[in-house]
Symmetry: C2
Subunit: 339 residues, 2 copies
């Protein structure tokens, strides 16, 4: 069995994630049991939802275990199979450890066609982040032509797709992002009508009034906190909020209060709906067909940041929580197979 480098959870973070919360180790990789496969991990997805899993809070996914590799969505190559579903050389998607070699139950994996799209796309625009945007924007937000849509984290793996879907549906789309370069990308590449830099703007109420003069009909929420509170105040009657993430809250040591005056929800007949894409896997095929088509037509564009090497995963993840990545963040752990 090959030697397996891993990143394990050394301790649970209090506040900001720190390097000492991770530990790199190396063990002999185990052999797959009946119904399992041994894979070589190629690309590992890093996503904000992993932060709540580092704590013991009752998140929607169980906490990561101490002294075990963190896990995440990944693309991998099957090395050895004890299942008739897969054979060596197959490229698969699944949840794997932050490690070079991983063992998984074959029933939880999905074979992917390595020729149909770049491997990384399966972790981004055509994977969970893209499908999250698709479900939240089209099923919950349901933007109509001429409506105003707001997307926080406008250029993130999810937000970038959410904003472009709203444009496809004919809405005016406004976003915010954490740098001028991201805002420029949002407007020039992704087609947002406007985007503000939330690290520079002091008065979110004022900037929303300026950029969304007709108020906001659909909010796709990725961030939470003060931006969410300002958006809440700017919502129009019968507005919809697709609650996807709250990255600004994930490193809080004491919980922060919600928006002032919840009566607003009643006054304006708001619909606020939290969702987790894994509850809706039955429509994944529809998503791949629609978004795959829009990518081919040039209506959906995307950007990825690829970090080289497992050892850089902790630093990349800490940066993700501070918004340092640009577009979908992926760690390259092993080489792509030659096709």
């Amino acid at each position: 069995m090959p030697q397996n480098n891993r990143i394990v959870l050394a301790s649970r973070p209090q506040g900001d994630v720190k390097p000492e919360n991770f530990r790199r180790d190396s063990v002999a990789s185990a052999a797959p049991g009946d119904g399992q496969v041994l894979v070589r991990v190629i690309y590992l997805s890093l996503d904000p939802y992993m932060r709540p899993r580092m704590t013991e809070m009752n998140s929607y996914t169980p906490p990561f275990e101490l002294n075990q590799p963190l896990t995440g969505g990944a693309v991998a190559e099957v090395i050895e199979s004890k299942s008739d579903r897969f054979r060596a050389g197959d490229i698969v998607m699944g949840m794997f450890g932050w490690e070079q070699y991983s063992i998984a139950d074959a029933r939880l994996l999905r074979k992917i066609d390595a020729k149909a799209a770049p491997l990384i796309a399966n972790l981004g625009v055509l994977g969970m982040p893209g499908y999250t945007a698709y479900h939240g924007m089209l099923r919950i937000g349901q933007p109509k032509p001429g409506e105003t849509v707001f997307v926080s984290a406008a250029t993130g793996a999810v937000g970038a797709v959410a904003g472009q879907l709203a444009k496809i549906k004919g809405a005016r789309v406004v976003g915010c992002a954490g740098s001028d370069a991201k805002c420029e990308f949002a407007v020039k590449e992704l087609g947002y009508d406007a985007c503000f830099n939330h690290t520079k703007e002091r008065d979110y109420d004022a900037v929303l009034k300026k950029l969304c003069p007709k108020g906001i009909d659909v909010n796709f929420e990725n961030v939470g906190g003060p931006i969410f509170h300002a958006v809440f105040k700017a919502m129009n009657n019968f507005g919809r909020m697709a609650m996807c993430g709250a990255i600004s809250e994930y490193q809080d040591t004491t919980p922060r209060p919600g928006p002032d005056k919840m009566f607003t929800i009643i006054q304006r007949r708001l619909e606020i709906k939290g969702f987790i894409v894994s509850d809706h896997m039955q429509s994944m095929g529809e998503f791949v067909r629609d978004v795959g088509g829009w990518i081919k037509e040039g209506k959906i564009r995307y950007r990825e940041t690829v970090v080289e090497g497992l050892d850089n995963a902790p630093k990349a993840f800490m940066g993700l929580l501070k918004g340092e990545n640009f577009g979908k963040l992926v760690v390259k752990i092993g080489d792509e197979p030659k096709l």
Copy 2:
């Protein structure tokens, strides 16, 4: 024309409503114009939503005008008609002033059958409050057998119907109310499984844990504030919140923050939906048929508080905002007609 005693809005309240915010006057009643009717008001409904209308805030109904009678749902008898829709002697429902004689556009009135149900029921269990409960509980809350439902203001005009509808649907129903007598009424008469006195309990988290050991699946929100925050924390995955009212916020001079940690909405896939019953009038007939039937079968019970005389309306309204009424609060302004 008869002399018309009226209660007008003398000033807008800051914080608690006070007697000086009202003024009684007496004017000659006007004559109806074309398409209008002059009515004699019999029963006037007092409802919490009137409090936001006393201010200039952007509520879902326009603010009351200064120096004009406040308005509300009422049952009245047509005295003089300049419309072929109604004739003198007809009993009608509509929005009328807090006054003895009122003039209204005939197109906005609905004739009621005075023999079908007690006149007051048209303002309560078979009127707006009942329909509000019906829409919020059955269309938004959608309780299923065995689920736990929570109703704040459990014995109020809306809450009492909401709780009983949830029982009819087979749920376990828990509420809170502002006195031991109301809690006893909720359990013994309305069929709640449990009800706590929110003026006595100090630790809402603890009492909810005790009374709702399986968590809360549906919250019918009438109150807002600390009780809402505790309910929010106790919500189960895929829980629904029908946001009907926030009486605890109506007299705030500074807005209060929402619940801590909005990420809960995502984690638990909550659906939080504000609604106003007047947006849904197209299903009123279905409501009258269903709830009318359940009243006849003894499955829905109700209680009313009738205050005698227009001059007592301000005091009764101030009491309503402090929870001093028991069940639906109505002011009797004129005698019922002899049938």
